[in-house]
Subunit: 410 residues, 2 copies
């Protein structure tokens, strides 16, 4: 890679530390990253120590070890989770570790593996990590999810390029959509975050009863919103008072649906990559908040297994609006990764809502009473298109246009 690449990678590392988790002097940082991320993780660690971090803990994961487990492990091994894994994670939340996750996994890693084995282990892991997921989802600590280009991922995104060219191309995409290729990425993020903040303030003040989405693919969906819902997007202030950016890139504003007030058809506009498999051509009909008809052109079994995880998995926990001209959409690339693809299109998520999307949502009873959804899963899937129209529906049934042809009109 060129010297130019090294500069961008360093800026990216600085961006993750300063804008992403916004690590204070004396702060603690947990980095979860795949092996391939080592050069980036090393730069992040140096940036964190230079910012005065007192501890940087890195958990490197090796996707080949997951594959070995699913391919060669006994049923007992697939079901085995020692309790100290969750205990350590809980202790790190209590100790105030900011969390930085570097994503770059092969979207098709587990495609040749028995989906029942993967589903079983995913569910057991979600159960074991429920307390941690809730604390993190409720911003007990600040966290950031960002990505890196890896051969396994890049060659799926760019199957016609050599591995080396694909990795370089995907890095260019990542630097571009995260603004790491700009001369002052941190300042560029300031401007961008202000616009998202304006939209969130406006939408939250409206307190629409529902949002109605229609697309040329057949989506015709009314998403009732939770009582006292809050629109969020861009930066987030954690309960420890630190303001960071949970996703890089991020172009969405999102809120909590009412779990029993979603009706109509949702049709996917992009493939969904989940549990190492690709689900394409999803059509789901909701009635009274529940997914009652579920089909997919590919990966339907995985989708059904997902929705059957628990009752909440058949209800929505997120509605997010993204303009069609957002940077990720403009790349024209299907990233096969939620972190990117969700920023190319408006989307919904099956499963758990974010407590921060509802007033007093940190209280589980208040969250439930407001219509917030609970589940072991949270899976985003994209329904927005360049032809999507979105209306806000007020409590007395009046409609106000929010998006036309995929662009904001407010």
């Amino acid at each position: 890679m060129s010297a130019n690449f090294e500069t961008k990678l360093s800026r990216y590392a600085e961006l993750l530390v300063h804008t992403g988790v916004n690590l204070p002097a004396g702060g603690k940082l947990l980095i979860n990253a795949p092996l391939d991320a080592a050069p980036l993780v090393q730069l992040i660690s140096r940036a964190a120590y230079q910012a005065g971090a007192v501890h940087v803990k890195v958990n490197y994961s090796d996707p080949q070890l997951s594959l070995a487990l699913f391919e060669d492990g006994s049923d007992e091994a697939v079901a085995f989770l020692p309790d100290w894994v969750a205990l350590e994670a809980e202790r790190m939340v209590e100790d105030g570790y900011a969390r930085l996750a570097i994503a770059g996994e092969d979207p098709g890693l587990l495609s040749g593996v028995d989906p029942q084995r993967v589903a079983l282990r995913s569910k057991l892991q979600a159960q074991a990590m429920k307390a941690v997921s809730e604390a993190v989802g409720g911003f007990a600590v600040n966290w950031c999810v960002a990505a890196m280009s890896t051969p396994a991922w890049a060659t799926r995104v760019y199957p016609d390029l050599s591995a080396e060219a694909a990795v370089a191309r995907l890095w260019d995409d990542i630097f571009s959509v995260t603004r790491a290729d700009q001369s002052d990425p941190v300042a560029a993020w300031g401007t961008h975050l202000s616009e998202l903040e304006r939209l969130c303030g406006l939408l939250t003040s409206k307190q629409y009863a529902a949002i109605h989405l229609r697309s040329e693919l057949g989506t015709d969906l009314t998403v009732g919103l939770a009582e006292g819902h809050i629109w969020q997007g861009g930066a987030e202030t954690a309960r420890n008072g630190i303001r960071g950016v949970p996703n890089l890139p991020t172009d969405e504003v999102f809120t909590a649906p009412h779990r029993d007030r979603v009706d109509g058809w949702a049709v996917s506009s992009k493939p969904l990559s989940v549990r190492g498999q690709l689900i394409e051509g999803i059509r789901v009909r909701f009635e009274g908040g529940r997914a009652v008809e579920v089909t997919a052109q590919q990966g339907e079994e995985t989708l059904r297994t997902l929705i059957e995880t628990d009752e909440g998995a058949a209800h929505l926990g997120e509605l997010a609006l993204v303009k069609a001209s957002a940077p990720v959409a403009q790349t024209g690339t299907l990233f096969l990764h939620t972190l990117f693809d969700e920023n190319a299109a408006s989307h919904i998520a099956l499963g758990r809502c974010y407590p921060t999307n509802v007033q007093h949502g940190e209280n589980p009873e208040a969250l439930l009473a407001a219509g917030g959804n609970d589940s072991l899963i949270h899976v985003d899937w994209m329904i927005g298109t360049p032809g999507t129209d979105v209306d806000g529906v007020t409590a007395d049934g009046a409609r106000e246009p929010l998006m036309r042809g995929g662009e904001w009109v407010i």
Copy 2:
């Protein structure tokens, strides 16, 4: 690398699982390995799952992160160790995890770093991990330390070769001294372990009061042995009843000195690589078991810091005898790594003894009463040469030749 290499690497992985930790069906395995070891770790994991392992936990370490901490971390960061690290390690010992460590670190990694920072952190880590070290040293679980060839290490061993050639050459050495290049490595180990068992049985039955070593370099050292000492070497039966091989390669037989009965001069025959630094030309005079004169041609400060760790660090915890014709010595290579170099020469270790080298040594009071040594450290250094003569000294002062010119005569 050639297909031949892949075959040897697979055999090596099988050897570590079956002969090294001797993992039973339903067993649990902890692997500590550097990032570079990923291809080997993946083969080991598959071999373990195929052998019926219920859990394989891998902790990948990244040497560059240690360097980042020492170079960019605050004093607070260098001294910071969260207690859940030791708690997790203790839980894994309680849960009966076999332990496999893959060594391949750069022997000079920390040579440019302030040795006081390294010493402080090493000591804090040793204190935090004391319970684990004791349990592991006492074979509460079975464990194995083996090595892999890495560019950082290989290029120090073979500075005149290209990185690629050096890595290949060091792999050849590793395969050769661990017998992984033989058609049936497990059977070859069977023969070798029988010979070590014969020597251990014979020496233990003699119950020498002391061992006297003389070398052409100036070693003239009488090492009094602990009361009820046991010679060990090769395979080891852990308290869980599983018989494995703690070190691959291994050619030594070793026992516990009496901490107060060591007198004379010990002169190093090979450089000692410790804490990322090289210590060369060591001359230490012992009196009443204690190191009273300490000099080194290089790294003397690190050596002194080491010996000043605690009182036990100035006394011996191991005496090991290795024939000059052992496979590691025959390679003629200075590996700059104790795991290998200690199998090229007779050696002594400063610090903690192995409780298994003394009868009833699992009882700390019995161990102390017998003359066993305790310390936060255990550091081997080589004094044996092709010209070394070794005698056993009986309780009434009679001498019996054990080695002449570096070779066994019993």
